[in-house]
Homo-oligomer: 352 residues x 2
């Protein structure tokens, strides 16, 4: 399953609204076929793997990171293809929460006498598929709030001439995330102050995530680097935004953050890397819309400066607690990750 998950990872950030999926077919302990879903409209991972395996798929075991589909979408059902190829056993990392599948893929396989096991490598599969799962179940993107701060909780110094918080390794990791998530979000303040490009410029083979600019008043500078084709401007209803459209951006009129996220979902944005600033991030947090947190901590003290989040005050007992916390050393910095919301999943026992 580890290899199937590695296959799936190659599709991350490219498959929406579909999930990234990987499939590996094993015959007598040997990998005879492998595949990944490259992008929406193209064949599913199982099809590529079966094609490579050919007749060696007969009596083989297929490892697939998501339940094989049971419905006729843009492609015929993968469950049927596995059965037709004579696969004896299918190991599935996670069930598909899509109401059109939702256990029916597994049921179809079992009805045909295929031995099916579910849940191997599920945690990692859920993480890879968080965007797809959020989109199909909640109709909005999975939101990952990312920031880098000093050990005294400062994301930037006061005033100009700011300098970087974290090291080169951490910045490279952020580019990997930009490559894997569908879109990156920033507020107007950050655009006006820093004019970030939010690209994967130092990542070989990276593709740029769609920039999403949250700007109620529509006054962000149109010459900013994030104002580019493929981008989205989220602004208040009634705000004229022709200059942004002229530069190839989609304009989304939304009155609230939940409305904005639904609108992004309708644009097939399944995952969103929230890159700040503090005001936008604080609004997301207060609305319960931060799903996952990835924090770099640089081991240094600044003594003054901006905090990562600026929002309404609440007592310490009502702080939002992260679950499944992980810690990793990344260059000179520390990376702490965790979840505020659960990735939508389907119990092996039944429906959502």
């Amino acid at each position: 399953m580890t290899q199937a998950l590695a296959e799936a990872r190659t599709g991350m950030g490219r498959t929406s609204p579909n999930p990234p999926v990987g499939c590996v077919i094993v015959q007598d302990g040997e990998v005879v076929g492998r595949g990944a879903h490259p992008r929406a409209g193209e064949a599913h991972a199982e099809v590529f793997a079966l094609r490579e395996a050919g007749v060696r798929a007969r009596s083989a075991t297929a490892f697939v990171t998501l339940e094989p589909c049971s419905h006729h979408g843009r492609t015929p059902p993968c469950a049927d293809a596995l059965i037709a190829a004579g696969v004896r056993r299918v190991v599935v990392a996670a069930l598909d929460p899509n109401p059109q599948v939702a256990g029916r893929g597994v049921a179809r396989l079992r009805a045909a006498g295929v031995d099916v096991q579910v849940g191997v490598g599920e945690a990692e599969a859920l993480r890879q598929q968080a965007g797809f799962r959020s989109l199909v179940v909640r109709g909005r993107p999975w939101v990952v709030f990312k920031y880098a701060m000093t050990l005294d909780g400062r994301v930037a110094a006061c005033g100009e001439g700011n300098g970087r918080v974290s090291g080169a390794e951490a910045r490279r990791r952020v580019m990997v995330w930009r490559n894997e998530l569908d879109a990156v979000a920033v507020g107007r303040g950050t655009v006006a102050l820093d004019d970030p490009a939010l690209t994967t410029r130092d990542l070989p083979g990276g593709r740029h995530a769609r920039p999403v600019v949250f700007d109620r008043s529509g006054r962000a500078p149109v010459t900013a680097q994030v104002v580019r084709p493929g981008g989205v401007l989220v602004t208040a209803p009634g705000v004229a935004a022709a200059p942004f459209e002229k530069r190839g951006m989609t304009v989304l009129h939304a009155d609230t953050l939940p409305d904005a996220l639904s609108g992004l979902g309708a644009l097939n944005v399944a995952s969103l890397l929230l890159e700040g600033g503090p005001t936008l991030a604080g609004a997301f947090l207060a609305a319960g819309l931060v799903d996952e947190v990835r924090t770099f901590i640089a081991p240094k003290l600044l003594g003054a400066g901006l905090s990562p989040l600026t929002g309404p005050s609440r007592p310490m007992a009502l702080a939002q607690e992260l679950r499944d916390v992980t810690t990793e050393v990344v260059g000179p910095d520390l990376l702490i990750t965790g979840f505020l919301n659960d990735i939508p999943r389907l119990d092996a026992g039944g429906r959502n």
Copy 2:
């Protein structure tokens, strides 16, 4: 040496202005004597260990966490005692930076034909002796800034009804530190707002560190829990502080933080746990007086509140970087430690 360091640890917080020292004597692979320096005025660690070993010290190896003394202080020189007992080999963790010793203890042993090895377990020995070393070399206590914050860098919510940042395990660890350091420091704001006791109340056998209240104006409430016998009030020159003295506190008049620390050094305070608040900690940091940092991070987001440090603004490139950073999981929290200043040491090659 690990056992000798464990012996030494039992004296931490009790020996100032002397260092905590441990000694273990090994004969044919068997521990035949062990000792720790219990407090100033009592015998040194080597004396206890030699006493226990008796004749079995002959031809034995002595492990000692600090260079044996060579001068007649309150007790006769330990180097002489080791030689007289017939010890063949002495393993020393760290040389003594005290100008009265500073390599002379080792030289005396070698001159008597004893085989001496220096530097085994030095890093841990330096940490245990940081207070003593600071006092004897710099004339001021070693300052450890300790705080607990949320993952968005908040040490407290705005306003009242605050609640705890970190878990029970972290709070217990803080009591261990209060037991091991000579004094705990707080600013007037923290005293007025939180009225902390700063004790080791949940630690069996713990002794309370001396509370040090930084209060330029002398307006801290005299009924506060930290206003107690053994405590120190640091206030501006000319401020009358009779009510504090009446309650058993020593009053230290100092115009600057360096002056205050020198005054504390004169009171035999070798190590100081700086417990906040943000204004006092910010002043220490800005003056370069934070030697060591111990930060608990609770994996939760608050969105608003107080930062751990409030001080003058500086560009990110001038942030103070921690060295020898360590990370440890403590209950649900993360503990990050590091150094801003070096613990004074003596090179094995020679003098300071």
